[in-house]
Symmetry: C2
């Protein structure tokens, strides 16, 4: 029983570390919200467009591989019994090229010239490679005996009809496509891509390339999140921006739903200012708006937007508007699930050695931008501010400083995340 | 001085190891032939299509980043001198939202409410975050003094106009696209993709999915090489197949040239059989046809095909027709240069521990198919035969057995190449 008036961990003052939600709590919350996206529908694609897609189910071969008994060498198909008393000379009575159709059976005491991949005549049970023979006047001389089965590829010796060529949830590489093609398969069932809409908010935003009025900046978050979603294997069905105008945002959310988006990412409009369009529109609908114990990227929100008639509401994951914050937030909260769904490897994490001292705020998990140096080192790139978009571009890792660490010296080890 | 009659390493009989060309010699030969492909032309692409492309040159920012002096926080723009004697209370005379246009200068002794990203009024030199203030009746109370410059982002503090945002030969990730967009850039000059034609040869080949007559098999090499070229960053301009018919092959080579192919890959038709279409057509034109000290993939060739009037001849790299051989040959001889041109990482190579004994032919570098096991181990997948296309699909590494090694025991270390 909780005593009256007890001071729980959420009872402290607003700016204390414990008043902020931990990164891990929010990450778990977003991950749980993303869970339904892991159930994918199938989509049939031609092999020529299947590179990098993920199999929906085991793909089974309709035929044996190889499909028929064939020669592994250019040479002569003979009966092992006929060459047991080698050296021998056998009459060459026919030739089987690849694709020559079904060859006639081999008569005892004769040889048939055969090319690599060509069907082995019935009755032949070994292939003598051409380099081990001498041919003259329609006869072939064979200098030593051979074992039955030598250089013959039996049907199904690679894979039997009905066996899986590629297991389910395999990200298709060229070698998988080769095996599918060898089995005569032209189309493969893959999981559909997660359909994502990206909406940037902010009255100061203009499309990149448009002339900048006073106080205006190009929208870079939309470009970044759309590209990051694509790199994580998703399909970006909408990429748009809105002023700090709730009806305009609502119209874009409706458009995203109409385009089939399963996940909507917004940037901006969720902090403590007076024009927070995402909060204004989505908080009355039950959005969870939160300030996390992290830097950059403190403000975060999770919401849903009504689906079309008869469909479920669509998940909206809301990032802060500062460019570094929004990119980092995507990497932290959304990218891992998308990568897993798309069969992509996790982002690399490794311990490296700081080449200079760093400071961090107590109670915040800080993500500094860094660049790897030779010999397992890492150097910080510019400062911690969340507007340093060029510095982020110049970085190749994030340096993670845990919540309880406020100072690190040159030579200390840190965890780094590959960008 | 070499004595008369000495037995050099190249003086042995045909089937001896030294009669075969070493893998490294052929690799160097192909790499030298690929050298001209490293000189790329530029292609301008929209940011939305630039993910994964490689910058042609340094991309410089036309503007300062950030482009104007702006606030890092929601709060109040003041003069540090006016809050030096804090606690103080200042009249709030205006508000600057993001995108509100150029704000009026700050009169001494007043405060202006300001949103994150909004332009800082002339005269203001510090921002007091909203959480450090109390506002009432058009006045704001500020409890402590602030340093000049605090929470103000100066123009150019991230990057100055004229500086490089992204250096040349950078493979563009989302963070680079974000920085380019932030600078108002809409299109970026990237290097063009290497244009590749893939031609499978063999009278036994039919398109995957077509009914198989006796002795026929689906063409899997074309699918595999086209996908592998795509995965290595190239653009496949032609993917075709031909019977063992030199005029038909010649017509396809002409078509490849007409489509702008800079590199043509063929499979099949270069070994010792009687219907070697690639040799028949290209050897009279000076093709280097060779047998390498490797397994699988011994036969290899390098040729060129006349270009169109006024253009250079086009390089033709010829692989053997067995599916495992052709895929391995691409990986070995062509993929490294293509990946480097496309800014992709090299295929991973690591030492692993064999979980069972293997044998290899003396004088051949053998590439066995393997699968990684936990704890740094590797297990072989099926046998060494070059027709085991499903076994290759089931593998995730190649196990490399050097030329001079004929036996390895379980527990021995081997080099593995990630597939």
């Amino acid at each position: 029983m909780a005593p009256h008036g007890s001071h729980g961990s959420s009872g402290s003052a607003d700016d204390s570390p414990s008043a902020r939600t931990s990164v891990d709590v929010h990450a778990a919350r977003v991950d749980a919200a993303l869970e339904p996206l892991r159930t994918r529908a199938l989509e049939s694609v031609e092999l020529a467009h299947a590179l990098g897609r993920v199999t929906f189910d085991d793909v089974r071969s309709p035929i044996d591989l190889p499909p028929f008994r064939n020669s592994q060498m250019d040479g002569y198909a003979v009966r092992a019994a006929d060459v047991a008393s080698a050296p021998v000379s056998l009459p060459v009575v026919a030739e089987v090229a690849a694709a020559a159709g079904a060859p006639a059976p081999l008569r005892p005491g004769t040889a048939v010239k055969i090319m690599t991949g060509a069907p082995v005549p019935e009755g032949a049970d070994t292939i003598v490679p051409v380099e081990d023979t001498l041919a003259a006047n329609d006869y072939v001389s064979i200098s030593r005996g051979r074992e039955a089965g030598e250089y013959i590829r039996e049907p199904g010796s690679d894979l039997r009809a009905g066996q899986a060529i590629v297991p389910w949830r395999t990200r298709l590489a060229s070698r998988h496509l080769a095996a599918l093609a060898a089995a005569g398969i032209t189309d493969v069932d893959v999981i559909d891509r997660v359909r994502i809409a990206v909406i940037s908010t902010g009255s100061e935003l203009v499309a990149p390339g448009e002339p900048l009025g006073p106080g205006q900046i190009p929208d870079s978050n939309g470009v970044a999140l759309a590209a990051a979603a694509e790199a994580a294997g998703a399909d970006v069905v909408l990429h748009a921006r809105t002023h700090d105008d709730p009806p305009q945002l609502a119209a874009l959310l409706d458009e995203a739903v109409a385009l089939g988006a399963e996940l909507i990412l917004t940037s901006g409009g969720i902090s403590m200012g007076d024009h927070e369009v995402v909060r204004e529109l989505l908080e009355p609908l039950g959005a969870v708006v939160d300030v996390l114990a992290m830097q950059p990227g403190g403000p975060q929100a999770l919401a849903s937007w009504p689906g079309l008639e008869g469909t479920a509401a669509v998940l909206v994951v809301c990032f802060p508007g500062n460019p570094v914050s929004s990119q980092l937030s995507f990497e932290l909260f959304v990218a891992p699930a998308l990568r897993e769904i798309a069969g992509l490897p996790e982002a690399g994490r490794e311990t490296r050695v700081l080449d200079s001292a760093v400071r961090s705020i107590t109670g915040r998990r800080q993500f500094l931008r860094g660049r790897r140096t030779d010999g397992g080192g890492v150097t910080t790139v510019a400062g911690p501010s969340s507007h340093l978009v060029a510095a982020l571009a110049a970085s190749d890792v994030l340096i993670v400083i845990p919540e309880d660490v406020t100072e690190l010296a040159a030579g200390d080890s840190v965890e780094t995340w590959e960008l």
